[in-house]
């Protein structure tokens, strides 16, 4: 079975501060990993994805994530948070073998203090 854990339900940071959102996964092989963002009343927008190769991946809006196989982690980072980054962030996993079902974590709600 595959699963994704996001340990932090809520995180509050000051505007301009750095951000790291944690994601751990469980899967029998190397999965495809994703980070999505969801603003209130909106669908999910893909921030970045990891398939293979370079373990540090760059995404949109200045976000990056690092895949660490030894820790089964795929943490999302941003050097300087903007007020517009306040939203809910979801880590997701897609296993191989056909089909592209996504398994999501429970999400981390980010609040940005001005």
């Amino acid at each position: 079975a595959q699963s994704v854990t996001q340990p932090d339900i809520h995180i509050t940071v000051s505007e301009g501060a750095s951000l790291e959102l944690r994601c751990n996964y469980s899967y029998g092989a190397t999965p495809y990993l994703f980070w999505y963002v969801q603003s209130p009343g909106q669908g999910l927008q893909l921030l970045l994805k990891y398939f293979s190769g370079d373990t540090l991946v760059q995404g949109i809006k200045g976000f990056e994530a690092e895949f660490k196989r030894s820790q089964s982690s795929f943490n999302l980072r941003k050097p300087s948070v903007h007020w517009s980054d306040a939203a809910e962030y979801f880590c997701a996993l897609q296993g191989g073998g056909g089909g592209n079902k996504l398994t999501f974590g429970t999400g981390t709600q980010l609040k940005v203090e001005l």
Partner: protein, 115 residues
């Protein structure tokens, strides 16, 4: 390109009723997946349609059924609604090039409230 569209935006039903939600995929996409997102939770995979057939299914009861039309649009039907079916229902579309990863694009969702 209109992206993935869903209708209606909001819906209120009572227990025991039936509901149909609709999704039009992004232009050029041929695969549609449905997810249920309960309040405070991450999306949960319901099922996926490709070539008008259900190809993969998550852990949802038979009350949840779907259909894909020749133009690749899709419907999600839920029978005998329960209070616990209240959620945001998300549709995602993709292009099934191979067995490898195909990026999914999500619609804005339909908010279903069951009273």
């Amino acid at each position: 390109d209109a992206g993935v569209t869903q209708s209606p935006t909001h819906l209120i039903k009572t227990r025991g009723q039936q509901v149909t939600l609709r999704c039009s995929p992004k232009s050029g996409h041929d695969t549609v997946s449905w997810y249920q997102q309960a309040l405070g939770q991450g999306p949960q995979f319901i099922f996926q349609y490709y070539e008008e057939e259900e190809r993969q299914r998550g852990n949802f009861p038979d009350r949840f059924s779907g259909h894909q039309f020749p133009n690749y649009s899709s419907e999600l039907n839920v029978n005998a609604l329960l209070l616990g079916d209240s959620a945001l229902y998300l549709c995602a579309s993709s292009y099934r090039r191979s067995q490898a990863y195909n990026e999914q694009f999500f619609g804005p969702g339909t908010r279903l409230t069951v009273l």
